[in-house]
Amino acid sequence: MRITIDGRVLETSGAPTILDAARRLGISIPTLCEHRRLVPYAACRICLVEIAGRKLPAPACATPVEEGMEVITNSPKIQALRREVLDLILSEHPSACLICLEKENCEEAKSMIRKTGEPTGCILCPADGRCDLQKVVTEVGLKGLSHPMTYRGSGVRRDDPFIDRDDGLCILCGRCVRVCHEIRGADAIAFVARGSRVTVGTSMGKRLLDVGCLFCGACVDVCPTGALTERAVRYASKFEEQRSFICGLCGQGCRLGLRLRGGRPVDVRPEDGSPNDGQACVKGRFVIGDLLGHPKRFVRPMVRRAGVLVETSWEDALAAAGRGLAEHKGKTAVVCSARDSCEDLWALGRLSRDVLHASSVRLAEDSAAYLLGCPDGAEIYAPPMTVDELSQARIFFIFEESLHLTAPIFGVAVNQALLKGAKLVLVGDGEYCLDRYAAVRVKAGPAEAGGFLTSLLRVLINKNNSHDRGRPAGFESLRQVLRTLPPDSPTASVKLDRIVGFLEKRRPAAFIFGPRFVAGPWGHRNAALLWNLAGHTGGLYVPVGWEANARGAVEIMAEINRGAFPRSAELNKPRALILAGPDAAFKRAGEEFVVALDAFHGDAAAQADVVLPRTVFAEQEGMFVNAEGRLQFSSAAVTPAGEARLIRSIAADLARALGAGVPALETRDAAFKDLIGAVPSLAEAIRIVRGNRPALIAGKGFAAKGFVDIPDLDMTFDPAAAFPLRDPDDYLNFPTALEIKSLRTARRR
């Protein structure tokens, strides 16, 4: 297609909007309500352009180009039009500063007047300097206002956590309302009332906290003015630089930007591109600053002297740790965390295996999601999958997960698919954010879901509408097993028929589940059933690890233990313990010596003999594998707190203190090379990185494995007596996690 914009010719394929086409030519058209990820809204009318042969100006953001179209974006008529539209917007927006003749000299003239309640002009506005409206005024070149300024607002609302709202600054562009609906699916805010009385509001004008807001911060990020602001930085100085890092607070691996002033964090903004593409969640968006500089951080090493932990030097602490551990070589247990980087885990693993000859090395968190329910299985089941693929699915089966909380970015992908008409089958015995979208709701916890899955699998296999090519391994034996089962109840059959109906019309399916669903005695069975269902329907098998590096951690643990994960019984009698993973319930039981590598004061560290302060994710570089299986490299966005050191460095230090330095752990590069050399799956994925495609780590897929046997349930097991349900944020042993948990409880109300 060939079009002309301001006399410049563009050849284009597809049907971009005039705005997209103009941007490709480097032609700037001012916009306010437009946003890259949102459906065009065309309400602000600032992007109107002329099109040859059309009587009326058209909004560039919502008008697709047509063959031979001639567009004029900057005629005097259009410029006058934009000034008039802007004039109208500013008549309801505090704007004195925008057109003030003294604007240039204001920085010198003003002193400490920023801390005011309601902004009446830019210098009093929290969005000063980052305001889209300011930019548009400059671009359009407005010199005067025709109307007296009126203030639409009713004061700043400060009754919510994290977010302040000021209707007086709102220009009703609808970006917040749209992002809340189109991207996040939270639907916490909407337009209320009509005409000149319209505001962005909530049900009954309640607080965001009481209307299902997840505090993902997306509305704050898209707000073009200061109407929605992050309270903590409302009057903070402007940041000087932004540094990118990978968030370590859940398994999605969001790419975030830490904004700094004088080397200190100001705030955090999600960055564009995979996997999160400009989205974050309450944890990544609002708590990382607090987390990094929290008063409970360990900033110096500590050793126990006369029963009391006292601060000391690294040299002293390492020597103490070395002495203690040397006594228990071969009888030391090591607990790592799946939230740590691959290099960190590898370093701890090598220390444990090659220096300490540890009796066990294990993850503090449950990695069952990737191991097909076998706590000691070495085979890893996780075919590669991306967020993009997930958003293309046409039917979702979600098991026991409140995706908006445990995997917010997957939640965004699911929401977008649902808005496009995908169906949702929600399985679980609790209440979930996605309940109201569910086409079919199966009230069954992890213990009972097996029956439902078995029935579904049987109906599908009997219908023989298999998506597989030929007969995958294990098909016949599976069919035999399913034949012997008793028939379904009539009510269950109706539900199953409905689901099968969806599956016949809608492909691909996605089966999403977290660790909780495949933990416990029913876990192996649930996982096997899901695996078979996904394979049989050609759908996505999507285990959601909750931890930042859960997917990488299982690979590394498998390599360190090489197929021989110790049985849990063997863990019971270690003589010494290195505690590098969170264990809120840790009770010292007979261990003679405990070394804790921890970042925050807590119950576990308080029982240790030596505490070595460690860095947290934004302070260190390293490789993480997120829930997609995507390899990502994080850099250090900020200097470590106090004397905190990387786990890899601590492992190397300990090895040296034990008199057996491991050269491969001394530098990050060496550790990385050593790791890649030892773990073939990571090496394979790295090879892909070099090919410039997303680097996805691949576990065994259905094509290679085929159907798996459905194990029997352990019938002697009493579900009430064991396996208390774990909270997805339990593993976050940092203090702010508590606040997030209480927030979520409030949200469920």
């Binding site: 916490a188 209307v211 299902g212």
Partner: protein
């Protein structure tokens, strides 16, 4: 305030659902029904309707506040809606409104203390040929004079 809708109302709401391919489309008719039964749509009703239609409460709120016929506060037993749009204004709609204002001591939007009348000024009722007109409840009264209005007031409420 009650905590739920009556059986009868629930049954009628279910009938409405059957007329549309999805429950959201039934929102306006359902709100009409609730208002007819309750006289207005209160906060509890809003939440109940949201639940029945499978919506977030805010999705009911945005709709409820858009349409002028939905009342969120109780009205008097007789709702007096006076048209003051141009055709009626030419034929004396303004006088009718002023008369009601004075007689009842109300400004548009207010209810008499005894709860008999609520006075509302509305845009065109589509009866421009018979103006000035006034709707009392559901009933349209046309070609009104001040005397006719007084008679209406005496007879209703």
């Amino acid at each position: 305030m009650t905590t739920g809708f009556s059986e009868g109302l629930r049954a009628r709401i279910d009938n409405i659902f059957a007329r549309y391919p999805n429950r959201r489309s039934a929102l306006l008719p359902v709100l009409h029904l609730v208002q007819r039964e309750r006289g207005f749509i209160g906060p509890d009703d809003e939440i109940l309707v949201a639940g029945l239609c499978g919506l977030r409460p805010v999705e009911v709120r945005e709709v409820l506040t858009f349409y002028t016929m939905f009342r969120r506060e109780p009205a008097g037993r007789r709702l007096l809606q006076v048209c003051t749009n141009l055709s009626c204004a030419i034929r004396g709609g303004g006088r009718i409104l002023d008369h009601l204002r004075r007689t009842l001591g109300l400004e548009p939007g207010q209810t008499t203390p005894d709860g008999r009348f609520t006075l509302v000024e509305v845009e065109c009722l589509g009866a421009c040929d018979k103006g000035p007109c006034l709707m009392v409840g559901e009933k349209l009264h046309e070609g009104l004079t001040l005397e006719a209005v007084d008679k209406l007031l005496r007879e209703s409420g």
